[in-house]
């Protein structure tokens, strides 16, 4: 499917928002969360630029699954490191092992269900962390109400990830053309929710 001018504009806006977030950083974040957030928004920025330059065909590349895992993993790591001090080490180990597991199951020529299971498990944990942590923190008064927007972004990234993963697995929820039509808007909404959430936290 050919990329339209509107798609390009939406992706450019996504890239600019992500670039802005990388440049201003997150208030009060220490070194590790700052690196994690920079990686997450950096991948969003580069992904937006590559989609503009190479078009939707770039999504066919097997590297996309690996690279797109980096966004939820690094974002959730930043959130856990900042807000759940007791789970820092455990979650860091989960992120490293999870990423390596996805990398291995994607690079090795496995023909069973293992690659999808590993992807679903790692994505699921990271996505739920991004979705639930900000909302729970907001509801319990441990963060400002605006922080809940990060959870909204988490829900959107989950929807996008699910649509793309099922499409690649050959069991799409929506047609390929519908998914590609909504993808740029979804990416922009998701990035805007993250940026607004961190700004209002």
């Amino acid at each position: 499917m050919k990329i339209t001018l509107l798609d390009r504009i939406l992706l450019l806006a996504t890239g600019l928002l992500a670039a802005w977030q990388v440049a201003v950083g997150i208030n009060g974040a220490n070194t590790l969360p700052m690196i994690a957030y920079t990686i997450a928004f950096g991948v969003l920025l580069v992904a937006g630029l590559l989609l503009i330059i190479l078009g939707f065909d770039v999504l066919e590349s097997p590297i996309v699954v690996i690279v797109s895992t980096v966004i939820p993993l690094s974002l959730s790591l930043g959130l856990v490191w900042e807000h759940l001090a007791a789970c820092r080490t455990v979650y860091l180990v989960f992120v490293i092992v999870g990423f390596l597991a996805i990398l291995l199951t994607r690079l090795l020529p496995l023909r069973n269900i293992l690659p999808v299971m590993v992807l679903a498990f790692v994505h699921g944990i990271a996505g739920l962390t991004i979705f639930l942590l900000p909302i729970v923190w907001t509801l319990t008064g441990r963060a400002a109400p605006g922080f809940a927007l990060v959870g909204v972004g988490g829900a959107l990234i989950g929807v996008g990830g699910l649509l793309l993963a099922l499409l690649k697995a050959g069991k799409p929820l929506l047609s390929r053309s519908t998914i590609l039509k909504v993808l740029p808007g979804l990416l922009l909404l998701m990035t805007a929710a993250f940026v607004a959430g961190f700004a209002l936290a």
Binding site: V22, A23, V24, L50, I53, V58, I63
Partner: protein, 291 residues
């Protein structure tokens, strides 16, 4: 009144013909490096007339040398599918007219630069000399290594801008020029792979035709690493804010990702994607250096 209208129409049609001779995108990108070099000097007081003078003199010199280059290479352009419609190759502009235009613009650009600052003028002249004499007239048709000299001349605008801002040549200026020199292969070699057959038909030695595609892609990947490192080190030495350093690192990672992908999973799409991304990367890096 009628004569005036006709003169204006005539001028408009000339500008429409002359503009493509300047390769406006390439000239614009090189001009942006020159302006970034000047801004990177963090002049305590920046006068708009200095900035304007720098922009005009660099534009004239870069556009002039590009036109002379196009004048000399008109036979190559005429033999290549991609370039045979250019005004000189297609006969819309006569060679004498183009040569005169190129010389006038070059002289005006270098002359203006010398008046503004002799050292700045010298660097601008060096860039023009490397591009026209060493690269275009001497080496382009003899060796694929001519791109090194093309790269050196490409690094001169950013050095010139910094020299104009500081009043002297410094290590950061050299580093910035090196960054452009290392970036040039990413820009030119991806292009020479895309139009490999055209260049072969025109008998122009290129890296892909002499050393093959794999070696060319590896060269691009290595030079991308070196370009990104040079810009990052220069950025840190200039005192760029950490937020911008982070952003530069992210954009550099994208460049490296594409360069590595072009080595291990080479496709035409990735190759041309790298070409486009490299231009965007350089423009973004220049904006970040200028802020």
């Amino acid at each position: 009144m009628h004569n005036l209208q006709s003169a204006i129409r005539n001028l408009q049609s000339k500008i429409r013909l002359y503009w493509p001779l300047t390769k406006s995108l390439q000239t614009g990108l090189l001009l942006s490096t020159g302006l970034a070099g000047y801004m990177s000097a963090r002049c305590p007081v920046m006068h708009w007339y200095d900035f304007l003078g720098l922009a005009v003199s660099l534009f004239l010199a870069i556009a002039g040398s590009t036109i002379i280059n196009m004048w000399y290479d008109r036979d190559i352009d005429a033999s290549m599918k991609r370039t045979c419609d250019r005004p000189l190759a297609s006969g819309q502009v006569s060679p004498t007219e183009a040569l005169r235009l190129g010389l006038v613009l070059s002289l005006l650009g270098v002359g203006m630069a010398v008046v503004m600052s002799p050292l700045y003028g010298l660097v601008v002249f060096a860039g023009l000399f490397f591009d026209v004499v060493i690269y275009t007239l001497w080496l382009k048709r003899r060796t694929c290594w001519s791109i090194v000299w093309g790269g050196i001349s490409g690094g001169m605008p950013i050095l010139a801008g910094r020299v104009f801002g500081l009043g002297h040549v410094d290590g950061i200026g050299i580093l910035l020029a090196l960054a452009v020199l290392f970036w040039i292969p990413t820009h030119i070699l991806t292009f020479s792979m895309r139009y490999h057959e055209d260049y072969q038909a025109a008998k122009i030695p290129t890296f892909p035709s002499i050393y093959g595609f794999l070696a060319t892609r590896t060269t691009i990947a290595i030079s991308s690493v070196l370009a990104a490192l040079s810009i990052a080190i220069a950025g840190v030495l200039i005192g760029m804010e950490w937020g911008f350093v982070r952003l530069l690192a992210v954009l550099s990672a994208g460049l490296l990702l594409l360069a590595v992908a072009s080595v291990f999973r080479p496709t035409e799409r990735v190759n041309f994607g790298l070409f486009k991304y490299a231009s965007l990367y350089m423009l973004s890096a220049m904006i970040l250096l200028s802020i």
